[in-house]
Subunit: 149 residues, 2 copies
Amino acid sequence: MADIESATAQNLLKAFMQFRKTGWHEKKIGGYNPSEFKVLAAIQQGANEKNEEMKVSEISQRLQVTPPTVTQIINILEKDGLVERAVDPEDRRSVKIKLTQAGMEATARAKNRFTENFTGLIDYLGEEESEQLADLLDKVHHYFNEQSR
Amino acid sequence: MADIESATAQNLLKAFMQFRKTGWHEKKIGGYNPSEFKVLAAIQQGANEKNEEMKVSEISQRLQVTPPTVTQIINILEKDGLVERAVDPEDRRSVKIKLTQAGMEATARAKNRFTENFTGLIDYLGEEESEQLADLLDKVHHYFNEQSR
DNA sequence: CCTAATAGTTAGGTAACTTAATTATTTACA
DNA sequence: TGTAAATAATTAAGTTACCTAACTATTAGG
């Protein structure tokens, strides 16, 4: 059993705490809150992948947040004219979310801004270490998922 | 320049997002909110290291949050009888925070609970990969700190 | 000695969530 | 076929973990 007082444990814990605060998850991304940006990006990606509009439940699943959370963020984006709701004629309980023209432009801009930072990180770490990091974080996620079952 | 659409970028981004949600940062740690637990642990550690009580400003620095945040958490802990305030006679502007007996016991219990999980992770990853992960996260932190200057 | 700096607190706000309850609608089956 | 159960989204209200700005008390510096 590893010892929490060991240098390794201390280092890893400190690294975790630092990382939470760290700026990859900025205050504003191209003018939008991170949560808004994530929803915009999810809508865009979903539309890209399936060539179809995203339902609230799909966004919720993709971002791993509850449906009310998505509803609220969509409300803001709709008020800002970035997004439109349309009842799905196939299943009138569902609501399809679509980016407006302004929304597509805003998303592209924000994504660009985000991309600069993020690809900069990968260049800084190097391809190999970036992959390593992704793998290790996956393992951590896997460990805690097991744990909670 | 790395490409945001590359597999590496996608993987790393996904890993980051997953990690944020991941349960190392649990909802409750031995019955306390993470923020409360962190303050308790900081007080304990500070007292351990310097054999002296922590000032609000020191806790604030250590946890990288503003003094009002610390004040508020201390208020809760004080109400719960885990912590006591005492004006520093050397500098009557300062307030020294001390764990009560109940506070020491609660902190020990919570820390134990936390430790189980965390050392389990290190065992799961192995010593070497744990160090690697800590290093990589440090690099990420370093990169974003540069960026924001 | 008095102005400026420092330590902490108070007041008020925000972002990003959550759960529980409610409203439409659709599905299943008796 | 009619109704009960399930599903999709929303509304309402609450929580956590922060923050900034303004205030109070105390100490330090010229």
